[in-house]
Symmetry: D2
Subunit: 356 residues, 4 copies
């Protein structure tokens, strides 16, 4: 009810503040019998962690995961899996100065309005640091998907006005923006450097694709697969829009264009085109699931901004600290994790939808 | 778990198939003490019902609501409210011919893949008729919002390539497309007529706005207000994209442009601009909540289409029946209802977030 | 959250007041592919309905069930099943006189304290009539159990001070108290007649047994099988105690007596004795599940009682109407239904506990 | 769904195995603004911890709690509270010998049957050690109750055949069995010593009372206050029965005896007697809530027992280790915690039941 859990069958609960002693997550509902290694989780955390290149924040978050429960001899037991990541390199002093000011674009005012109290150190619970826990359990969800041959790929398709125009999967992890178009990637990097130099930040669009999802995932009418994906993605603080398949472009298509013709491919029923992005009526149809997210520019910028303080008096604010000029490259593994969490949850639920 | 419920504190469960005897909804969690009349619900149902103009389907759905439980002397008692709407004007015969074919753009194949059985009459549970139940309970949710002075307005902002360019609230209910721009409305109507004549259909974009939402609604980190709105809207079968505030446009803005400056307005803290669409960090900030939906063109078109049958054999299909050439005008009250449901739920939950 | 739903995977939501137009239930999560007939449900309702013998109330509740959704050609489709039972023979006039008085033993005062409003006609939502809906969906749950060869038997083991001393299953439905001991049954009937003549009522103990439950049902640590059974049974207004296996008697046993020795029986691991009542550590062990309920005497009695009115003034009250002098015989099918609901829910959940 | 969470508004999720690195709990839904100190939690843990007297196990569990999230300057922030207790004094070697045997009275067989794998070290997740986490969050729940003037008292009312006959609250924490009757306490201690000497164990009955609970708590019809209490208590591995108020004794009372007359006491409506144990129709009536639990004798005894191994072959087993000969004294703070959790949850939910 209070919002820190996600999923039904594969249910996660995250906890922890940016400048507290640790953050973590409890997974309830991971089936017994799955081999799980710390290294698998750590690899995903490393993909998310900052300080990976000149265009991400230089802030260090080593993010070493500890598995505190739920495994026996390296195998899941069906009991809750508890993952913990200690916070390090935490310097709260610079937040003291602005503790009575509301940073524009941040949740400072809204948390105070809601709770009457807020942990102002690094954004507290509203910090993007919370997503570390999501990536950790996303790595466990990916294990379940792998058992079902489902593969997930995320990549950056736009930064500022620069758009990727090609898709070459092997390029993605080779460039610091995780773009599948080598040339566009270089332009994006330059654009980010320019913004950084200007004390500004950029947004962009991230795409996540799931391949080999079996038909039948999704629970109508409210827990449709795309509805759950939309919620998962929009629960990321920096995401302001989400679309499936052709998404907003479909709104200017005609029915005769948008309908995907059913065909048989490799002996399985599929669709010729994939305008629907792999989901019809809230249930997967076996085609690729394609999701795109609108990512807003990082709210923390190195320019003086106008705001008010707790008493409503106009003030100027300088948000110090080391912040990503563009969060898209790091959103990629996070968005992959969210999609993995949704699919793992629905894979489990599909087991009980029918007696056949 | 099986997906037919929505909301936590204000929780609805819908049921019923397009060609069954009735559809309905149970509301669990409506607070005691709210005056409620059948007429208030009926008015909203009338706004949704087909046959309102020459550009909607001529199919008649009188949609008379019955209140079977939860009221005493016209006041809610805190007990479940049960609403029932009998199905009428149901002709299932034309579905017999296509019972072994999968209609393109419809959930025929995916339901069968999931459940191993499907009610093919009018789409069964996957029919848009299910949204009648949503509008019925949305009318109850609106009652709760009214008590809190929150007002919701929906309107069509785009159909095909025609975009609204003005906003005049009083125009909305005056034209059959529910567009706030009189001139654009006329063009939209013409465009829809053309599509209908061609046996085709159109999509569009619908916007919903909530005014006077108090700051503090939303439950981080997963049940963020925008996350729940995204889920609610994407749970509509014809919606393929959703954005809040500037949405996808924010991805090509700079941080210095996108951040909304905090100011004091009418003695309350607010923001100067509203790029965020009234929600920051998943919690309402007191500014207008602005949501836009990408609506796909109606899947049922009057053209012969290619598909396969249950055995995977290529077939041609003619989807008979009376269908809306563009669903946007009727999505307006449905989308309003979904937003009302989310806000009512979070209004109730906000009561227990803090001891102050 | 508001309490009118039960179960996770097999989830029911009941609605309706005693003197409203109808009561009903929505089942969400019944798997697709199960043949279901109205007659099967009706049979169970008939077992619960009043007016079956001289010792139950003469009030008539024909309780004809209608299936409004969730079936296609007599087979469940995985969609919500909506069951409705119209109320008949409703005479609310006698409640007018006592609308400002609180009936002792009834929920009149507590509902008013909670909601600030109450439907005083026949107890409104707090009426035992609500259990009709439970029995209706219990009949569906029993269908799922039958597919898994699980059988449920309920019987009365004590009324007042009269205890059953034998167990002969075929006797149960032959006598009006549903007692498996023919001689004790006759004594119970006499005892009830005496109480009725005196304008008084009796309580008793009902036992429910589930046979052939496979080992492995139950979700530790909170949703233990016995915990869910306890909740299910205690959610009946007239139940004030519940025990599993030896229950309260186990508290004066020694460990060496109470531990059930593990043995192999018919090639399956089982236990020699069954003090545990078929559940260890919250999970079924394959032995019979044995549950006993303490049922309080019917609160409505034909004697003048002392109470207060809404203003707290001392008053005398005469509760008119036709009431059961002992509810136990009718609790039997209700308690069976509750056990069936819990087992069906856990059967489904067990499918996803492990990848084996 | 997978069972490791409890509560709706005040929701806890426990994790951790007996012989893993730590156990813990996440509380989601604790309102913002409550002062909370580690010491308050530690005190409750100390009451539960073993090694407190000669009649409890000599096993040491220092159980030092760490608060990892959810507080800021000693005040709850409305964010998840994460509590962690490291495991110490863990010796798993003695479990190696019996890893293929099923201990009678323990969940060894049932966990294996359910999950296909089990952590046999100290019972893994099925260990009573899990209740440490419950007591930790119970201490937080008690804080919420204190703000509402509700007080909870637990005590042992029976061990073996020895029953308490007096109630003197100040005696409870003075004797090692937590009995409110000084003389009975001494007899109980002697009885436990005798059992221990014989390598055996004893069960008993524990009572928990909540005073000054306001009328109106409880959510009909399934989440009745007593239903939730029953579930909470029965979710303790050693509890086999639960009763409210007169409980099983009420089944041999007459309606004219069992009905509690409504009166006015201290200007508030209450009842003269309290056979109902403070709950009518699932909602608190303002009178004391009285709950009694049947506790089974400790399953681990120092006698050789018969059992089978994983292959079903008959074997003898000696369960080594230091175990409580009677768990009742330690159940007292655990049962108090469970009642506190239920009441805190319903106090929060009551805030949204009505608009008054």
């Amino acid at each position: 009810m209070a919002g820190n859990s996600f999923g039904d069958a594969f249910r996660i609960t995250t906890w922890g503040e940016s400048h507290g002693p640790a953050i973590g997550v409890v997974i309830d509902g991971c089936p017994a019998g799955i081999p799980l290694k710390k290294e698998g989780i750590q690899n995903e955390l490393n993909r998310r962690s900052p300080g990976q290149s000149s265009i991400t924040t230089s802030r260090k978050e080593p993010d070493k995961v500890e598995i505190l429960a739920g495994l026996f001899d390296g195998i899941t037991t069906g009991q809750p899996i508890s993952l913990l990541i200690k916070n390090q390199d935490v310097d709260s002093s610079k937040y003291e100065k602005i503790k009575n000011l509301f940073r524009p674009g941040h949740a400072d005012f809204t948390y105070l309005a809601k709770y009457g109290i807020r942990d102002y150190r690094g954004g507290g619970r509203s910090s993007a640091r919370e997503t570390t826990a999501r990536v950790a359990c996303g790595a466990v969800a990916k294990k379940i998907l792998q058992k079902n041959k489902i593969a997930i790929t995320g990549h950056t398709v736009q930064i500022g006005f620069i758009k990727a125009e090609k898709f070459s999967q092997k390029e993605i992890e080779k460039n610091p923006v995780r773009c599948a178009d080598k040339k566009a990637a270089q332009k994006m990097v330059n654009e980010i450097r320019r913004a950084k130099k200007a004390g500004d930040s950029l947004g962009g669009i991230v795409e996540v694709i799931a391949k080999r999802v079996p038909p039948g995932l999704g629970e109508p009418v409210f827990d449709k697969l795309d509805a759950d994906i939309a919620k998962a993605m929009m629960s990321l603080g920096s995401v302001k829009g989400i679309e499936i398949g052709n998404g907003f472009a479909v709104s200017s298509m005609k029915g005769s264009e948008a309908n995907d013709e059913l065909i048989v491919k490799s002996k399985r029923i599929s669709t010729k085109t994939n305008h629907a992005g792999g989901i019809v009526g809230g249930i997967s149809n076996g085609n690729d699931i394609i999701v795109r997210l609108a990512v807003k520019p990082t709210a923390s910028i190195a320019q003086e901004q106008r705001t008010v303080n707790r008493k409503g008096r106009p003030k100027k604010i300088n948000v110090e600290g080391r912040h990503d000029p563009c969060i898209c490259p790091r959103i990629v593994p996070i968005a992959e994790s969210m999609l993995a969490l949704v699919l793992a949850d629905h894979l489990l639920k599909q087991k009980i939808a029918s007696i056949k």
